[in-house]
Protein backbone atom coordinates (compact mmCIF):
# COMPACT_ATOMS: atom_id res chain seq x y z
CA UNK A 1 0.00 0.00 0.00
CA UNK A 2 1.20 3.51 -0.73
CA UNK A 3 0.40 7.01 -1.87
CA UNK A 4 1.45 9.47 -4.51
CA UNK A 5 1.54 12.89 -2.89
CA UNK A 6 2.11 16.21 -4.58
CA UNK A 7 5.01 18.28 -3.31
CA UNK A 8 2.52 20.82 -2.00
CA UNK A 9 0.50 18.20 -0.11
CA UNK A 10 3.65 16.59 1.28
CA UNK A 11 4.71 19.95 2.59
CA UNK A 12 1.40 20.42 4.42
CA UNK A 13 1.63 16.86 5.68
CA UNK A 14 5.04 17.63 7.22
CA UNK A 15 3.73 20.83 8.72
CA UNK A 16 0.92 18.85 10.34
CA UNK A 17 3.32 16.19 11.55
CA UNK A 18 5.67 18.76 13.04
CA UNK A 19 2.96 19.86 15.46
CA UNK A 20 3.00 16.43 17.06
CA UNK A 21 6.54 15.29 16.29
CA UNK A 22 9.98 16.81 16.29
CA UNK A 23 11.18 16.10 12.77
CA UNK A 24 14.86 15.74 11.87
CA UNK A 25 16.24 15.48 8.35
CA UNK A 26 19.37 16.23 6.35
CA UNK A 27 19.43 19.99 5.84
CA UNK A 28 21.71 22.28 3.86
CA UNK A 29 23.88 24.80 5.68
CA UNK A 30 25.25 27.10 2.98
CA UNK A 31 28.95 27.94 3.07
CA UNK A 32 29.57 25.95 6.22
CA UNK A 33 31.44 23.18 4.41
CA UNK A 34 35.06 22.20 4.87
CA UNK A 35 36.28 24.18 1.90
CA UNK A 36 35.52 27.80 1.10
CA UNK A 37 32.15 28.39 -0.55
CA UNK A 38 31.03 24.82 -0.01
CA UNK A 39 27.90 23.77 1.83
CA UNK A 40 27.41 21.13 4.43
CA UNK A 41 24.47 18.78 4.71
CA UNK A 42 23.80 17.63 8.23
CA UNK A 43 20.89 16.70 10.46
CA UNK A 44 18.71 19.34 12.02
CA UNK A 45 15.08 20.09 12.80
CA UNK A 46 12.89 20.63 9.73
CA UNK A 47 9.37 21.99 9.46
CA UNK A 48 8.72 21.86 5.74
CA UNK A 49 9.54 19.55 2.83
CA UNK A 50 11.74 22.00 0.93
CA UNK A 51 14.24 22.04 3.80
CA UNK A 52 15.02 18.35 3.30
CA UNK A 53 18.07 17.51 1.19
CA UNK A 54 16.95 14.30 -0.44
CA UNK A 55 19.11 14.11 -3.54
CA UNK A 56 22.53 14.01 -1.86
CA UNK A 57 24.15 11.84 0.75
CA UNK A 58 24.34 13.89 3.92
CA UNK A 59 27.86 14.70 5.18
CA UNK A 60 26.93 13.58 8.66
CA UNK A 61 24.81 10.69 9.84
CA UNK A 62 21.33 10.41 11.32
CA UNK A 63 22.85 9.47 14.68
CA UNK A 64 23.15 13.19 15.42
CA UNK A 65 19.39 13.36 15.98
CA UNK A 66 19.51 10.76 18.77
CA UNK A 67 22.94 11.34 20.15
CA UNK A 68 24.02 14.94 19.65
CA UNK A 69 27.71 15.79 19.33
CA UNK A 70 27.42 17.59 22.65
CA UNK A 71 24.80 16.65 25.20
CA UNK A 72 24.25 17.93 28.73
CA UNK A 73 23.69 15.03 31.09
CA UNK A 74 23.85 16.60 34.54
CA UNK A 75 23.57 20.05 36.05
CA UNK A 76 25.40 20.75 39.27
CA UNK A 77 25.45 23.34 41.99
CA UNK A 78 28.19 22.54 44.48
CA UNK A 79 27.88 18.76 44.91
CA UNK A 80 24.17 18.73 44.13
CA UNK A 81 23.66 16.97 40.80
CA UNK A 82 20.45 17.05 38.78
CA UNK A 83 19.67 15.05 35.67
CA UNK A 84 19.00 17.05 32.52
CA UNK A 85 15.37 16.79 31.50
CA UNK A 86 13.81 16.76 28.06
CA UNK A 87 11.35 19.64 28.22
CA UNK A 88 9.86 19.24 24.74
CA UNK A 89 9.07 15.56 25.00
CA UNK A 90 7.26 15.15 21.69
CA UNK A 91 8.18 11.95 19.82
CA UNK A 92 10.78 12.28 17.04
CA UNK A 93 10.64 11.44 13.36
CA UNK A 94 13.99 11.11 11.59
CA UNK A 95 14.39 11.02 7.80
CA UNK A 96 17.12 8.43 7.29
CA UNK A 97 18.75 6.19 4.72
CA UNK A 98 18.64 2.42 5.24
CA UNK A 99 22.27 2.37 6.43
CA UNK A 100 21.51 5.08 8.98
CA UNK A 101 18.60 3.09 10.37
CA UNK A 102 20.95 0.11 10.71
CA UNK A 103 23.51 2.29 12.47
CA UNK A 104 21.01 2.90 15.26
CA UNK A 105 21.05 -0.84 15.99
CA UNK A 106 24.79 -0.46 16.70
CA UNK A 107 23.95 2.38 19.04
CA UNK A 108 21.44 0.08 20.74
CA UNK A 109 24.21 -2.51 21.22
CA UNK A 110 26.36 -0.06 23.12
CA UNK A 111 23.86 2.12 24.94
CA UNK A 112 21.18 -0.45 25.75
CA UNK A 113 23.00 -3.77 25.90
CA UNK A 114 26.69 -3.37 26.67
CA UNK A 115 27.53 -4.40 30.21
CA UNK A 116 23.88 -5.11 30.90
CA UNK A 117 23.25 -1.42 31.65
CA UNK A 118 20.75 0.76 29.81
CA UNK A 119 21.83 4.34 29.32
CA UNK A 120 18.88 6.42 30.39
CA UNK A 121 19.75 9.41 28.15
CA UNK A 122 19.90 7.33 25.01
CA UNK A 123 16.89 5.22 25.94
CA UNK A 124 14.61 8.19 26.46
CA UNK A 125 15.47 9.41 22.94
CA UNK A 126 15.37 5.98 21.33
CA UNK A 127 11.96 5.04 22.67
CA UNK A 128 10.26 8.02 21.12
CA UNK A 129 12.07 7.94 17.77
CA UNK A 130 10.63 6.62 14.53
CA UNK A 131 12.32 6.65 11.16
CA UNK A 132 11.14 7.76 7.74
CA UNK A 133 13.14 5.73 5.26
CA UNK A 134 14.48 7.76 2.32
CA UNK A 135 15.04 5.78 -0.86
CA UNK A 136 18.60 5.90 -2.20
CA UNK A 137 19.69 5.93 -5.86
CA UNK A 138 19.67 2.34 -7.14
CA UNK A 139 23.40 1.85 -6.45
CA UNK A 140 23.76 4.45 -3.73
CA UNK A 141 26.64 6.95 -4.11
CA UNK A 142 30.17 6.29 -5.25
CA UNK A 143 31.64 5.64 -1.79
CA UNK A 144 28.72 3.55 -0.51
CA UNK A 145 29.18 -0.16 0.19
CA UNK A 146 25.96 -0.93 2.08
CA UNK A 147 25.25 -3.98 -0.09
CA UNK A 148 28.51 -5.55 1.11
CA UNK A 149 27.52 -4.87 4.71
CA UNK A 150 23.91 -6.08 4.26
CA UNK A 151 22.45 -2.70 5.13
CA UNK A 152 20.96 -1.57 1.82
CA UNK A 153 17.44 -2.24 3.04
CA UNK A 154 15.82 -1.60 6.41
CA UNK A 155 12.80 -2.95 8.24
CA UNK A 156 12.37 -0.57 11.10
CA UNK A 157 10.63 2.55 9.77
CA UNK A 158 7.28 4.29 10.07
CA UNK A 159 6.93 5.00 6.37
CA UNK A 160 9.20 5.23 3.36
CA UNK A 161 9.52 8.09 0.89
CA UNK A 162 10.88 8.52 -2.58
CA UNK A 163 11.25 12.08 -3.83
CA UNK A 164 10.23 11.87 -7.43
CA UNK A 165 10.33 15.28 -9.10
CA UNK A 166 7.20 17.19 -8.22
CA UNK A 167 5.70 14.34 -6.26
CA UNK A 168 6.57 12.15 -3.33
CA UNK A 169 5.86 8.44 -3.34
CA UNK A 170 5.10 6.98 0.05
CA UNK A 171 5.26 3.40 1.28
CA UNK A 172 3.05 3.13 4.33
CA UNK A 173 4.11 0.80 7.10
CA UNK A 174 3.03 2.04 10.50
CA UNK A 175 -0.77 2.51 10.59
CA UNK A 176 -0.32 5.28 13.16
CA UNK A 177 0.40 7.64 10.26
CA UNK A 178 -2.47 6.62 7.94
CA UNK A 179 -4.60 9.60 8.85
CA UNK A 180 -1.90 11.97 7.59
CA UNK A 181 -1.98 10.40 4.11
CA UNK A 182 -5.79 10.25 3.72
CA UNK A 183 -7.10 12.11 0.70
CA UNK A 184 -3.98 11.58 -1.44
CA UNK A 185 -3.82 9.34 -4.48
CA UNK A 186 -3.44 5.70 -3.47
CA UNK A 187 -0.99 3.47 -5.33
CA UNK A 188 1.11 0.38 -4.87
CA UNK A 189 4.57 1.51 -3.91
CA UNK A 190 7.48 -0.08 -2.13
CA UNK A 191 10.88 1.46 -1.41
CA UNK A 192 13.57 -0.07 -3.64
CA UNK A 193 16.47 -1.37 -1.54
CA UNK A 194 20.11 -0.96 -2.57
CA UNK A 195 21.23 -4.42 -3.57
CA UNK A 196 24.42 -3.47 -5.37
CA UNK A 197 27.01 -0.69 -5.14
CA UNK A 198 29.82 0.33 -7.42
CA UNK A 199 32.13 -0.39 -4.52
CA UNK A 200 32.35 -3.95 -3.29
CA UNK A 201 33.98 -4.65 0.07
CA UNK A 202 35.10 -8.04 1.25
CA UNK A 203 35.16 -8.52 5.01
CA UNK A 204 38.19 -10.53 6.14
CA UNK A 205 37.58 -13.88 7.76
CA UNK A 206 39.22 -13.60 11.15
CA UNK A 207 38.00 -16.73 12.83
CA UNK A 208 40.61 -17.36 15.49
CA UNK A 209 42.56 -15.50 18.13
CA UNK A 210 45.92 -16.19 16.42
CA UNK A 211 44.83 -14.39 13.25
CA UNK A 212 43.36 -11.54 15.27
CA UNK A 213 46.72 -11.11 17.03
CA UNK A 214 48.71 -11.47 13.80
CA UNK A 215 46.66 -8.68 12.23
CA UNK A 216 48.06 -6.29 14.85
CA UNK A 217 51.58 -6.59 13.47
CA UNK A 218 50.79 -6.32 9.77
CA UNK A 219 53.10 -3.98 7.89
CA UNK A 220 50.16 -2.34 6.12
CA UNK A 221 49.22 -0.35 9.21
CA UNK A 222 52.58 1.44 9.23
CA UNK A 223 51.68 3.16 5.96
CA UNK A 224 49.10 5.17 7.90
CA UNK A 225 51.70 6.41 10.38
CA UNK A 226 52.74 9.13 7.98
CA UNK A 227 49.53 9.56 6.06
CA UNK A 228 46.80 9.68 8.68
CA UNK A 229 46.59 13.16 10.18
CA UNK A 230 44.75 11.77 13.21
CA UNK A 231 42.18 14.54 12.75
CA UNK A 232 39.14 12.44 13.58
CA UNK A 233 37.08 13.54 10.55
CA UNK A 234 36.29 9.91 9.73
CA UNK A 235 34.91 9.18 13.17
CA UNK A 236 32.82 12.33 13.43
CA UNK A 237 31.12 11.57 10.13
CA UNK A 238 30.84 7.82 10.88
CA UNK A 239 27.26 6.56 11.25
CA UNK A 240 28.26 4.20 14.02
CA UNK A 241 30.97 5.84 16.13
CA UNK A 242 29.47 6.02 19.62
CA UNK A 243 32.41 7.04 21.81
CA UNK A 244 32.23 10.10 24.01
CA UNK A 245 34.19 11.94 26.67
CA UNK A 246 32.61 13.54 29.69
CA UNK A 247 33.64 17.02 30.67
CA UNK A 248 32.43 19.65 33.08
CA UNK A 249 31.65 23.20 32.13
CA UNK A 250 31.43 25.84 34.77
CA UNK A 251 29.10 28.75 34.07
CA UNK A 252 31.29 31.39 35.66
CA UNK A 253 34.69 31.27 37.29
CA UNK A 254 33.35 32.53 40.60
CA UNK A 255 30.45 30.11 40.99
CA UNK A 256 30.11 26.41 41.73
CA UNK A 257 27.39 25.90 39.16
CA UNK A 258 27.67 24.33 35.77
CA UNK A 259 26.90 21.27 33.72
CA UNK A 260 28.42 17.91 32.87
CA UNK A 261 28.40 17.15 29.17
CA UNK A 262 29.15 14.29 26.90
CA UNK A 263 31.00 15.19 23.76
CA UNK A 264 31.77 12.85 20.86
CA UNK A 265 35.24 11.36 21.13
CA UNK A 266 37.47 9.89 18.46
CA UNK A 267 39.97 7.05 18.79
CA UNK A 268 42.01 8.81 16.06
CA UNK A 269 42.55 11.97 18.05
CA UNK A 270 45.31 12.62 20.62
CA UNK A 271 44.12 12.29 24.17
CA UNK A 272 41.65 9.46 23.60
CA UNK A 273 43.59 7.01 25.77
CA UNK A 274 45.50 9.52 27.91
CA UNK A 275 45.56 8.71 31.59
CA UNK A 276 46.82 10.68 34.54
CA UNK A 277 50.60 10.63 34.60
CA UNK A 278 50.87 10.95 30.80
CA UNK A 279 50.42 7.27 30.01
CA UNK A 280 48.67 6.60 26.73
CA UNK A 281 48.16 3.85 24.21
CA UNK A 282 48.08 3.71 20.38
CA UNK A 283 50.10 6.80 19.62
CA UNK A 284 50.62 6.37 15.87
CA UNK A 285 48.19 6.89 13.01
CA UNK A 286 48.70 3.28 11.98
CA UNK A 287 47.79 1.91 15.41
CA UNK A 288 44.69 4.08 15.53
CA UNK A 289 43.63 3.11 12.01
CA UNK A 290 44.10 -0.56 12.88
CA UNK A 291 42.03 -0.13 16.07
CA UNK A 292 39.18 1.57 14.20
CA UNK A 293 39.14 -0.82 11.26
CA UNK A 294 39.16 -3.88 13.50
CA UNK A 295 36.38 -2.45 15.63
CA UNK A 296 34.19 -1.78 12.62
CA UNK A 297 34.62 -5.12 10.88
CA UNK A 298 35.59 -7.58 13.59
CA UNK A 299 35.61 -6.62 17.27
CA UNK A 300 32.04 -5.35 17.55
CA UNK A 301 30.62 -8.43 15.87
CA UNK A 302 32.77 -10.71 17.99
CA UNK A 303 31.27 -9.12 21.09
CA UNK A 304 27.64 -8.70 20.06
CA UNK A 305 27.46 -11.57 17.51
CA UNK A 306 24.72 -10.04 15.37
CA UNK A 307 26.31 -7.63 12.91
CA UNK A 308 29.44 -5.68 12.11
CA UNK A 309 29.71 -2.15 13.46
CA UNK A 310 30.27 -0.65 10.00
CA UNK A 311 27.12 -0.12 7.92
CA UNK A 312 28.94 0.82 4.71
CA UNK A 313 27.78 4.44 4.44
CA UNK A 314 31.21 5.50 3.16
CA UNK A 315 31.07 8.88 4.86
CA UNK A 316 34.55 8.29 6.32
CA UNK A 317 35.92 8.06 2.80
CA UNK A 318 34.02 11.21 1.83
CA UNK A 319 35.46 13.21 4.70
CA UNK A 320 39.10 12.11 4.95
CA UNK A 321 41.25 15.13 4.07
CA UNK A 322 44.11 12.91 2.86
CA UNK A 323 41.90 10.49 0.92
CA UNK A 324 42.41 7.43 3.07
CA UNK A 325 39.74 4.99 1.97
CA UNK A 326 38.27 2.80 4.70
CA UNK A 327 36.67 0.44 2.21
CA UNK A 328 39.93 0.02 0.28
CA UNK A 329 41.73 -0.62 3.57
CA UNK A 330 39.25 -3.34 4.51
CA UNK A 331 39.76 -5.01 1.13
CA UNK A 332 43.52 -4.84 1.62
CA UNK A 333 43.14 -6.33 5.07
CA UNK A 334 41.01 -9.15 3.62
CA UNK A 335 43.86 -9.98 1.23
CA UNK A 336 46.41 -9.89 4.09
CA UNK A 337 44.22 -12.15 6.22
CA UNK A 338 43.95 -14.58 3.30
CA UNK A 339 47.73 -14.76 3.37
CA UNK A 340 47.76 -15.29 7.13
CA UNK A 341 45.20 -18.04 6.70
CA UNK A 342 47.54 -19.75 4.26
CA UNK A 343 45.56 -19.00 1.15
CA UNK A 344 46.47 -17.01 -1.90
CA UNK A 345 46.29 -13.26 -2.00
Amino acid sequence: MGYKITAENFDSLLKNLSKEYKIYAPKRFPKQGRYSDTDIVRYDRVYSADEIVHDEKSDYAAKEALSPITETVLYFTDADYRESKVVDDRPMLVFARACDIHSIKRYDDIFLKNGGFEDSYYKRMREKTKFILMECPSKGWDTCFCASMGTGSADEYAFGVKFNGEEVLVETKDSEFNSYFAGNEEMDFLITPVLENERVVRIPEINDKETQIAVKSLEMWKEFDKRCLMCGSCTVSCSTCTCFTTYDMNYTSDSNAGERRRINASCHVDGYTDMAGNHSFRKTGGERMRFKVMHKIHDHKKRFKEHHMCVGCGRCDDKCPVFISFSTTVNRLAAEVDKLNGGNE
Binding site: L74, G115, K123, T246, R260, G277, H279
Partner: protein
Protein backbone atom coordinates in the same frame (compact mmCIF):
# COMPACT_ATOMS: atom_id res chain seq x y z
CA UNK B 1 14.65 4.88 35.04
CA UNK B 2 17.83 4.59 37.06
CA UNK B 3 20.47 7.09 36.05
CA UNK B 4 23.74 5.20 36.15
CA UNK B 5 26.01 8.20 35.94
CA UNK B 6 24.51 10.17 38.80
CA UNK B 7 27.13 10.64 41.54
CA UNK B 8 26.30 10.73 45.23
CA UNK B 9 28.21 13.01 47.59
CA UNK B 10 29.93 11.30 50.52
CA UNK B 11 31.77 12.84 53.43
CA UNK B 12 35.55 12.82 53.36
CA UNK B 13 36.64 11.45 56.75
CA UNK B 14 40.41 11.74 56.65
CA UNK B 15 43.28 12.79 54.43
CA UNK B 16 46.69 11.31 55.22
CA UNK B 17 50.06 11.84 53.58
CA UNK B 18 51.60 8.56 52.41
CA UNK B 19 54.50 9.83 50.29
CA UNK B 20 55.46 13.26 49.01
CA UNK B 21 53.12 12.86 46.06
CA UNK B 22 50.53 10.35 47.24
CA UNK B 23 47.81 10.87 49.81
CA UNK B 24 45.28 8.48 51.30
CA UNK B 25 41.67 9.67 51.26
CA UNK B 26 39.18 7.90 53.50
CA UNK B 27 35.55 8.48 52.57
CA UNK B 28 32.44 7.60 54.51
CA UNK B 29 30.63 4.94 52.49
CA UNK B 30 27.83 3.04 54.21
CA UNK B 31 27.56 0.64 51.23
CA UNK B 32 31.19 -0.52 51.63
CA UNK B 33 29.88 -4.07 52.13
CA UNK B 34 29.20 -4.15 48.37
CA UNK B 35 32.82 -3.45 47.44
CA UNK B 36 35.05 -6.28 46.22
CA UNK B 37 38.85 -6.35 46.37
CA UNK B 38 40.35 -4.63 43.32
CA UNK B 39 37.24 -2.77 42.19
CA UNK B 40 37.29 0.94 41.36
CA UNK B 41 34.98 3.89 41.76
CA UNK B 42 34.41 7.02 39.71
CA UNK B 43 35.33 10.05 41.76
CA UNK B 44 33.17 12.77 40.38
CA UNK B 45 33.95 16.36 41.27
CA UNK B 46 31.62 19.07 40.03
CA UNK B 47 33.40 21.65 37.81
CA UNK B 48 36.30 19.30 37.25
CA UNK B 49 35.04 15.93 36.05
CA UNK B 50 35.39 12.27 36.82
CA UNK B 51 38.18 9.74 37.04
CA UNK B 52 38.38 6.07 37.99
CA UNK B 53 40.34 5.34 41.16
CA UNK B 54 40.92 1.91 42.71
CA UNK B 55 39.51 1.28 46.13
CA UNK B 56 42.68 0.58 48.09
CA UNK B 57 40.88 -0.59 51.21
CA UNK B 58 37.41 -0.61 52.70
CA UNK B 59 35.58 -1.56 55.84
CA UNK B 60 32.08 -2.98 55.60
CA UNK B 61 31.61 -2.76 59.37
CA UNK B 62 32.86 0.80 59.78
CA UNK B 63 31.42 1.98 56.46
CA UNK B 64 34.31 3.60 54.65
CA UNK B 65 36.41 3.25 51.51
CA UNK B 66 39.97 4.49 50.94
CA UNK B 67 41.69 5.77 47.83
CA UNK B 68 45.41 6.25 47.32
CA UNK B 69 45.66 9.24 45.02
CA UNK B 70 48.67 10.64 43.25
CA UNK B 71 48.45 14.26 42.18
CA UNK B 72 48.92 13.81 38.47
CA UNK B 73 45.73 14.89 36.70
CA UNK B 74 43.01 17.49 36.51
CA UNK B 75 40.62 15.65 38.82
CA UNK B 76 43.27 14.47 41.27
CA UNK B 77 44.64 18.01 41.53
CA UNK B 78 41.22 19.13 42.69
CA UNK B 79 40.83 16.23 45.10
CA UNK B 80 44.03 17.40 46.79
CA UNK B 81 42.24 20.67 47.56
CA UNK B 82 39.65 18.80 49.65
CA UNK B 83 39.86 18.46 53.42
CA UNK B 84 38.31 16.15 55.97
CA UNK B 85 34.66 17.08 56.31
CA UNK B 86 34.25 18.13 52.67
CA UNK B 87 31.99 16.26 50.28
CA UNK B 88 33.40 13.95 47.63
CA UNK B 89 30.81 12.78 45.06
CA UNK B 90 31.35 9.23 43.81
CA UNK B 91 29.65 6.46 41.90
CA UNK B 92 30.41 2.77 41.75
CA UNK B 93 31.94 0.39 42.69
CA UNK B 94 32.72 -0.87 39.21
CA UNK B 95 34.55 -3.67 37.45
CA UNK B 96 35.59 -7.19 38.24
CA UNK B 97 37.93 -7.37 41.18
CA UNK B 98 40.20 -9.99 42.65
CA UNK B 99 37.16 -11.99 43.71
CA UNK B 100 37.59 -13.60 40.30
CA UNK B 101 40.41 -15.54 41.98
CA UNK B 102 39.59 -18.38 44.30
CA UNK B 103 42.21 -17.79 47.01
CA UNK B 104 40.78 -20.33 49.43
CA UNK B 105 43.56 -22.71 50.57
CA UNK B 106 45.90 -21.41 47.91
CA UNK B 107 49.47 -20.19 47.95
CA UNK B 108 48.92 -16.59 46.98
CA UNK B 109 51.85 -14.66 45.53
CA UNK B 110 51.36 -10.92 45.12
CA UNK B 111 53.81 -8.84 43.09
CA UNK B 112 53.36 -5.10 42.74
CA UNK B 113 55.20 -2.22 41.13
CA UNK B 114 54.95 1.26 42.60
CA UNK B 115 51.36 2.42 43.15
CA UNK B 116 50.21 -0.98 41.83
CA UNK B 117 50.18 -1.87 45.51
CA UNK B 118 47.11 0.34 45.99
CA UNK B 119 44.47 -1.77 44.19
CA UNK B 120 45.73 -4.97 45.79
CA UNK B 121 46.13 -3.64 49.35
CA UNK B 122 42.59 -4.58 50.41
CA UNK B 123 43.23 -8.18 49.37
CA UNK B 124 46.55 -8.29 51.24
CA UNK B 125 44.92 -6.83 54.33
CA UNK B 126 42.11 -9.36 54.09
CA UNK B 127 44.56 -12.27 53.94
CA UNK B 128 46.68 -10.66 56.69
CA UNK B 129 43.63 -10.54 58.94
CA UNK B 130 42.35 -13.96 57.90
CA UNK B 131 45.49 -16.02 57.24
CA UNK B 132 43.61 -19.27 57.76
CA UNK B 133 41.78 -18.72 54.44
CA UNK B 134 44.94 -19.38 52.43
CA UNK B 135 47.81 -21.85 52.64
CA UNK B 136 50.32 -19.03 52.37
CA UNK B 137 50.85 -15.52 51.08
CA UNK B 138 54.15 -14.32 49.66
CA UNK B 139 54.76 -10.67 48.75
CA UNK B 140 57.14 -9.02 46.32
CA UNK B 141 56.95 -5.23 46.10
CA UNK B 142 59.00 -2.96 43.91
CA UNK B 143 59.37 0.78 44.42
CA UNK B 144 61.39 3.46 42.69
CA UNK B 145 63.27 4.54 45.82
CA UNK B 146 62.91 4.76 49.60
CA UNK B 147 60.70 7.83 49.49
CA UNK B 148 58.16 6.16 47.21
CA UNK B 149 57.49 3.20 49.50
CA UNK B 150 53.77 3.05 50.23
CA UNK B 151 52.01 1.95 53.41
CA UNK B 152 55.24 1.50 55.41
CA UNK B 153 53.46 0.66 58.67
CA UNK B 154 51.35 -1.98 57.05
CA UNK B 155 54.33 -3.43 55.19
CA UNK B 156 56.14 -3.81 58.50
CA UNK B 157 53.14 -5.68 59.90
CA UNK B 158 52.61 -7.81 56.81
CA UNK B 159 56.17 -9.05 56.77
CA UNK B 160 55.95 -10.22 60.34
CA UNK B 161 53.48 -12.85 59.18
CA UNK B 162 54.30 -13.38 55.52
CA UNK B 163 57.49 -13.80 53.51
CA UNK B 164 58.23 -10.59 51.66
CA UNK B 165 60.81 -9.22 49.27
CA UNK B 166 60.86 -5.46 48.92
CA UNK B 167 62.96 -3.99 46.17
CA UNK B 168 63.90 -0.44 45.31
CA UNK B 169 65.32 0.65 41.98
CA UNK B 170 67.91 2.63 43.91
CA UNK B 171 68.71 3.48 47.56
CA UNK B 172 68.38 1.10 50.44
CA UNK B 173 64.64 0.76 51.07
CA UNK B 174 63.11 0.15 54.46
CA UNK B 175 65.53 -2.16 56.10
CA UNK B 176 68.10 -4.09 54.13
CA UNK B 177 65.97 -4.41 51.02
CA UNK B 178 67.08 -5.59 47.65
CA UNK B 179 68.07 -3.20 44.93
CA UNK B 180 66.78 -3.95 41.45
CA UNK B 181 63.60 -4.75 39.59
CA UNK B 182 61.00 -7.18 40.89
CA UNK B 183 61.54 -9.39 37.84
CA UNK B 184 65.01 -10.31 39.14
CA UNK B 185 63.55 -11.66 42.36
CA UNK B 186 60.73 -13.77 40.92
CA UNK B 187 62.98 -16.88 40.66
CA UNK B 188 63.84 -16.51 44.36
CA UNK B 189 60.25 -16.74 45.58
CA UNK B 190 59.32 -19.79 47.61
CA UNK B 191 55.90 -20.38 46.02
CA UNK B 192 55.69 -23.60 48.10
CA UNK B 193 53.94 -25.93 45.67
CA UNK B 194 56.05 -27.48 42.92
CA UNK B 195 53.29 -28.19 40.50
CA UNK B 196 51.60 -24.82 40.92
CA UNK B 197 48.17 -26.42 41.36
CA UNK B 198 47.57 -24.47 44.55
CA UNK B 199 49.22 -21.30 43.31
CA UNK B 200 47.58 -17.97 42.40
CA UNK B 201 49.85 -15.12 41.32
CA UNK B 202 48.64 -11.51 41.32
CA UNK B 203 50.72 -8.91 39.47
CA UNK B 204 49.78 -5.23 39.52
CA UNK B 205 51.87 -2.34 38.29
CA UNK B 206 52.81 -0.43 35.17
CA UNK B 207 52.05 -2.26 31.88
CA UNK B 208 55.66 -3.25 31.16
CA UNK B 209 56.27 -4.37 34.73
CA UNK B 210 53.21 -6.67 34.58
CA UNK B 211 54.21 -8.06 31.20
CA UNK B 212 57.82 -8.90 32.08
CA UNK B 213 56.97 -10.15 35.56
CA UNK B 214 54.36 -12.50 34.10
CA UNK B 215 56.96 -13.74 31.61
CA UNK B 216 59.32 -14.51 34.53
CA UNK B 217 56.62 -16.63 36.16
CA UNK B 218 55.93 -18.40 32.87
CA UNK B 219 59.65 -19.17 32.58
CA UNK B 220 59.35 -20.97 35.91
CA UNK B 221 56.55 -23.06 34.47
CA UNK B 222 53.64 -21.23 36.09
CA UNK B 223 50.66 -21.57 33.71
CA UNK B 224 49.07 -18.33 32.48
CA UNK B 225 45.79 -19.44 34.10
CA UNK B 226 47.43 -19.09 37.50
CA UNK B 227 48.44 -15.45 36.93
CA UNK B 228 46.19 -12.40 37.39
CA UNK B 229 46.82 -8.79 36.43
CA UNK B 230 44.93 -5.53 36.84
CA UNK B 231 44.77 -3.00 34.00
CA UNK B 232 44.49 0.75 34.14
CA UNK B 233 42.86 2.62 31.27
CA UNK B 234 41.25 5.95 30.58
CA UNK B 235 37.56 5.79 31.32
CA UNK B 236 34.85 8.36 30.97
CA UNK B 237 31.78 6.40 32.00
CA UNK B 238 33.01 3.17 33.68
CA UNK B 239 29.88 1.32 32.49
CA UNK B 240 30.74 0.23 28.94
CA UNK B 241 29.37 3.17 26.97
CA UNK B 242 32.14 5.71 26.33
CA UNK B 243 34.56 3.34 24.59
CA UNK B 244 37.85 4.76 25.91
CA UNK B 245 38.96 1.62 27.75
CA UNK B 246 38.19 -0.89 24.99
CA UNK B 247 40.92 -3.23 23.80
CA UNK B 248 39.76 -5.48 20.94
CA UNK B 249 36.28 -6.66 21.89
CA UNK B 250 36.98 -6.28 25.62
CA UNK B 251 35.90 -3.35 27.80
CA UNK B 252 38.33 -2.97 30.72
CA UNK B 253 35.65 -1.30 32.86
CA UNK B 254 33.32 -4.28 32.45
CA UNK B 255 35.51 -7.38 31.99
CA UNK B 256 38.40 -5.92 34.00
CA UNK B 257 40.26 -4.27 35.52
CA UNK B 258 41.33 -7.67 36.87
CA UNK B 259 42.05 -10.15 34.09
CA UNK B 260 43.40 -13.63 34.02
CA UNK B 261 46.76 -13.49 32.26
CA UNK B 262 45.70 -16.17 29.80
CA UNK B 263 43.33 -13.52 28.42
CA UNK B 264 45.35 -10.40 29.27
CA UNK B 265 48.51 -11.51 27.43
CA UNK B 266 46.59 -11.21 24.16
CA UNK B 267 45.04 -7.84 24.94
CA UNK B 268 47.52 -5.69 23.06
CA UNK B 269 46.42 -2.10 22.52
Amino acid sequence: MENLIMPTPYRLLDVKKVTDIEYLFRVEYPEAGNVKFGQFMQLSLPKVGECPISVTDFSATEGWVEFLIRKVGIVTDEIFNLHAGDLLPMRGPYGKGFDAIDIKNKNVVIVTGGSGLAPVRSLINHIYRNPEEVQSMELLFGFKDDSSILFRDEIINWRKKHPMVLTVDKGCGLDGECVGLVTEYVPHLKMVSDKFDDLEVVIVGPPNMMKYTAIEFEKLGVPAEKIWVSFERKMSCAIGKCGHCRIDEVYVCLEGPVFNYSQAKYLID
